[in-house]
């Protein structure tokens, strides 16, 4: 699975992108977030304000109950501010 971070999520995680193997028991965005938070203090800080985190699965906006698989591209970012 490819996970992308943008804006201040990228800065807090310390990475723009990571390739991960999704644990088989994780099937939705909410589960993915819970797992990512355990990976480092930076991840934890990035996801601490869940209300301000948006998600896209394969470049479509996705809610916490959206399904994810190991072949997906999942991105996390703040609410868009426009150009």
């Amino acid at each position: 699975m490819k996970v992308l971070y943008f804006a201040w999520l990228r800065e807090r995680v310390g990475l723009g992108e990571e390739d991960l193997t999704l644990p088989p028991d994780i099937t939705d965005v909410a589960g993915l977030v819970a797992w990512l938070r355990t990976r480092s203090p930076g991840h934890e800080a990035a996801f601490a304000h869940g209300k301000l985190v948006r998600c896209a699965v394969n470049q479509d906006f996705a809610l916490p109950d959206a399904t994810v698989t190991d072949r997906d591209e999942v991105a996390f970012f703040p609410p868009v501010t426009g150009g």
Partner: protein, 153 residues
């Protein structure tokens, strides 16, 4: 029919206008909007503004909104260009062009597209101030209201 680009380089209004209209005599009007980096943000002088986007998703989102505008108004073409990277005050950020047989369609489509681009498009902005601090820009209520005027979100 729509020209969509997200780029670090500057753009040229005159050249984009020519590309959209060249060789046509059925267009009645072309509305455009150019957004520029202002030298202040919330009253504080800035050094630069850095725009980040989600390559792929941002272009797809821009294409979809251009399609929506073409479906809603009788457009003969439109252009959406958006810059990313670090930009200084006075530099161009965004360009919208909309061509139509009648002026109201061109004006409405242009206003719709720029409202969407400035509020809903997948970009994130960081402002760097002259005092050395920097901060990410929050989503703005006033801009969301502007988009809501158009009905669909």
């Amino acid at each position: 029919m729509a020209i969509i680009r997200v780029q670090t380089e500057d753009f040229d209004l005159g050249a984009e206008y020519a590309a959209l209209t060249q060789g046509r005599s059925d267009i009645g009007g072309i509305a455009s909007f150019v957004g520029v980096v202002r030298d202040t943000a919330g009253g504080r002088p800035i050094v630069s503004m850095t725009l980040e986007h989600y390559p792929g998703m941002t272009e797809r989102a821009l294409s979809k909104i251009a399609e929506a505008a073409c479906a809603r108004w009788d457009l003969q073409g439109c252009t959406l260009l958006h810059r990313v990277g670090e930009l200084q005050p006075g530099e161009n950020i965004v360009l919208v062009l909309a061509a139509a047989p009648h002026r109201q369609a061109a004006l409405d489509a242009c206003a719709y597209l720029i409202d969407w681009l400035k509020t809903r498009a997948p970009f994130w902005k960081k402002e760097r101030f002259t005092d050395g601090t920097e901060s990410w820009v929050d989503a703005r209520e006033a801009d969301d209201l502007a988009v809501e005027r158009w009905g669909a979100a």
